[in-house]
Subunit: 502 residues, 2 copies
């Protein structure tokens, strides 16, 4: 080990331990902690976050990082860890410790205030917290732009945090193109949608049975229960302490069969990425997925490209029917495939079909742009949200619960995150195209044989963690950087084929 | 706030946050973490423990503590926090940081090695870890005795960590007295035990039903689910982050009705103590139960003195029968009360009846004495254990799984803890005697009205946390310090009455 790098390791170890504790508290808050625990647990999170900050932002680490950035005698792993830590340092240093601490405390408390507001359809009670979170984010952007010499729009800085190199310019183009391609497709599909009957999806599905089936489906796609757990939470998510401790949640609805199934497959896709990170970089700052876009690339590949395909269900559908004979005896595989691919403009993003999903993201992207670029007032957000749903999806939320209050992200301080879902959806189509080139993908899905698929993804994407960028991974895997055309082609082909006989 | 004390608060806050994280990791390891996570999670625990050590053991805190110990202008709470932190400081300072860190890492890994050894009846695989843990403990005792000027036997130092002021002298007397009183009682009881048929206890009790009933029973005794959760683990335990986050576990056996019930009541007793800690001291070093003995005083009061009494079951027994009509229709309340009080010398402490329980503790107490006072070899422990079971209980373990490997405590580094169970059992009888003096206890139990009971315990014991010692609490509550005679009287009276018609 390089001797200078060796001096950095106690700091890396401490950052690892504190970050693990913070991840565990966050997981615990969503899955287990008793209702009244929040205030005191948030206090612990606030203090531990500050300790994390001080572990990165201090003169010793700064000096080491500066020297190490010039060091030529580093292994590739050491160099990538230094680069990543330097990036974290540059992002955090301009933010005063008190502000950082207050923001972490605020966003530790945010989710429960949001949960109550959502349950009570009470945007007013969430608005002051949302405003405070946004004001902090704006202040942080200002600090960070002043500290760097970057000439950058505020919202671009946030976008860059989640997906390096993707700015409003690229995203505007991306969404514009999607809108042009999807809307006509959607018109065709909507006309025919009433020919699809998916009443079966809303029969009574006992939650205990769902738990057993969902565990089975996670196993089916390769989720390793020696390295992970599945629990329940209001809003499904994935988190990870390291590659041997990757946790996902799902949410069961007794009157909705597919909701939990596709959540589970989606989160399993995230989990596979983290479970396959190479041991060499495990527990280091680069030992996790490279970006939110690439992460969604995995989760949506499994959820949609695989999970909503006919081949995927061939080895599973009989098991599904056996699990719920009273509900599904009259349903054929073809009925089910049409059902899980029925496209309908709707209000709730997480329940949206593959075709309309990106329009939901577009609404959020445009609202976030207005918040950070046009300083729109917090009070106007619900009506802006509703107008955009009317404009792009032709539906209007009747309550804020099914409108602007539906997502947890802003309550946790995440802005600039949503576009990753759309990018990830496009990345998934691109990865699927590559898989088709190098392996008999349909055959493997039909056999329920996920090993070669996971091996390929591990070899070319998962194991690298943050040691390569999204575009480097794509380029090295298939000779081509991010290209959203795959996604448009995929949607057109899929929906044309699927709906041709309706 | 005293200005010097104010300087201490950031250190107290940091200690609180780190301790909370350590509690959460420990809870998580026993209830949730995936099997392969252990090594990396233990690494985090090791690092966070070291940070905790450094938060207490440093020159700034030392100077503040020394000054504050002489300060006269402190509130009672401030003074008790200073006193407790000073005690922690004195206990930890003689131990070098590297040794402390290594020990915490070792004991974070210990439970899973113990679990495997227990499951495989393989003492050999646990022995090296046990030896290492004991060697560290012996080293720590040596450091601590050298640093203090105390002329103290090694094992007395460990006993003192769990219950101040109780040494081998007091405990030898205590156990000798118990043995003299219990053994004749046991002989009478054993002769009659075959007249009690408790086959009903080993019928099939579906675990889902047990979960519902156990939750109900925790609620019944006053467990506040807004401030706590119940989960499952191999070895039932209680842990707490603060008074609004108190967690208990239980363990369900499909063929044993009472096992989970009495575990749940026991752990609920612990939980009530922690949930009732005063807000004034919550989250501070004195904001938790004063000692293990007093803690067991609460848990065993609820489990045995209340939970195994006829009055307790009057409002619950019909609900129990309704839960399991197929198993209990032929069982009367009297049958059940005799069943849960059937005394039989047996091998497993946690399943032991009230009468033989302390004999199990006596075995452990004597083995621990031999480890620390006579340097007995690790290899001899299983046979010593078995001989003592034969001598005191008249039964001999046929495997180490049901012998020396049955308890988790040593794997976590806890020595000197076991006697607290016996002291707590005696304290419970003493508290019960006091409750009978000040309130119509039987009437409240018969009504299922735990509010006045919990209010009294909160007022006189729970709320104080560590701001009073065990003997101060007893003295202030009832004018009398610890007195084990209450326990002997209780057992004699209970078993004479219960077995008189058999």
């Amino acid at each position: 080990m390089n001797p200078l790098f060796k001096e950095l390791t106690p700091w890396l170890d401490k950052a690892y331990a504190l970050n693990s504790a913070l991840v565990l508290f966050e997981w615990d808050a969503e899955t287990e902690a008793p209702p009244d625990a929040e205030e005191m647990n948030a206090k612990a999170v606030e203090i531990l976050s500050t300790e994390y900050y001080k572990t990165i932002i201090n003169d010793t680490v700064k000096e080491l990082l500066w020297k190490l950035s010039d060091e030529t005698d580093l292994t590739a792993q050491e160099a990538s860890i230094v680069k990543e830590l330097r990036k974290q340092f540059d992002d955090m240093e301009p933010i005063p410790q008190e502000d950082y601490q207050a923001f972490r405390g605020l966003t530790a408390r945010g989710p429960s205030i949001w949960t109550k507001a959502k349950n009570n359809n009470d945007y007013e009670s969430f608005a002051p917290v949302l405003k405070e979170i946004i004001d902090y984010q704006k202040k942080f952007i200002k600090y960070r732009l002043e500290a760097s010499d970057k000439d950058m729009r505020p919202y671009n800085l946030l976008l860059n945090d989640f997906e390096e190199g993707f700015t409003m310019k690229e995203l505007d183009l991306f969404f514009e193109n999607l809108k042009n391609e999807i809307v006509p497709l959607l018109q065709m599909v909507v006309k025919k949608k009433d020919n699809i009957n998916k009443d079966y999806n809303h029969r009574q599905y006992p939650i205990e049975k769902q738990k057993v089936f969902n565990r089975r489906i996670a196993e089916h796609v390769g989720f390793d229960f020696n390295r992970g757990v599945i629990k329940e939470s209001a809003h499904p998510f994935t988190t990870n302490l390291h590659n041997r401790d990757v946790r996902i949640t799902t949410h069961y609805h007794e009157d909705n069969l597919e909701s939990a199934i596709f959540s589970t497959i989606h989160e399993s896709g995230h989990a596979l990425y983290e479970q396959h990170i190479s041991d060499d970089i495990n527990g280091t700052p680069v030992g996790t997925g490279v970006s939110m876009g690439m992460h969604e690339g995995q989760s949506r590949l499994f959820e949609n490209n695989f999970g909503r395909s006919r081949k995927f269900w061939i080895p599973l559908f009989d098991k599904l029917k056996e699990t719920y004979p009273e509900n599904l005896s009259d349903i054929s595989l073809d009925d089910f495939i049409l059902g899980i691919n029925k496209a309908t403009p709707s209000l709730i993003r997480t329940e949206a079909d593959e075709l309309t999903y990106c329009l939901h993201i577009m609404v959020r992207y445009e609202v976030e742009k207005m918040i950070f670029e046009e300083n729109v007032s917090i009070d106007e957000l619900p009506s802006i949200w509703n107008q955009k749903y009317e404009e792009y999806l032709g539906v209007t939320p009747s309550t804020d619960t099914e409108g602007i209050l539906q997502d947890i992200h802003w309550a946790t301080g995440s802005f600039g995150y949503f576009p990753s879902y759309a990018l990830g959806t496009a990345i998934a189509a691109q990865i699927q195209a590559q898989l088709r080139r190098v392996m008999p993908l349909d055959q493997y899905l039909e056999e329920g044989n996920f090993k070669p698929i996971n091996d390929y993804l591990t070899e070319h994407i998962h194991r690298f963690g943050k040691t390569k960028t999204t575009n480097e991974l794509l380029k090295d895997m298939m000779g081509e950087e991010f290209n959203p055309q795959y996604y448009v082609d995929y949607l057109k082909e899929k929906y044309t084929e699927l709906y041709k006989d309706l």
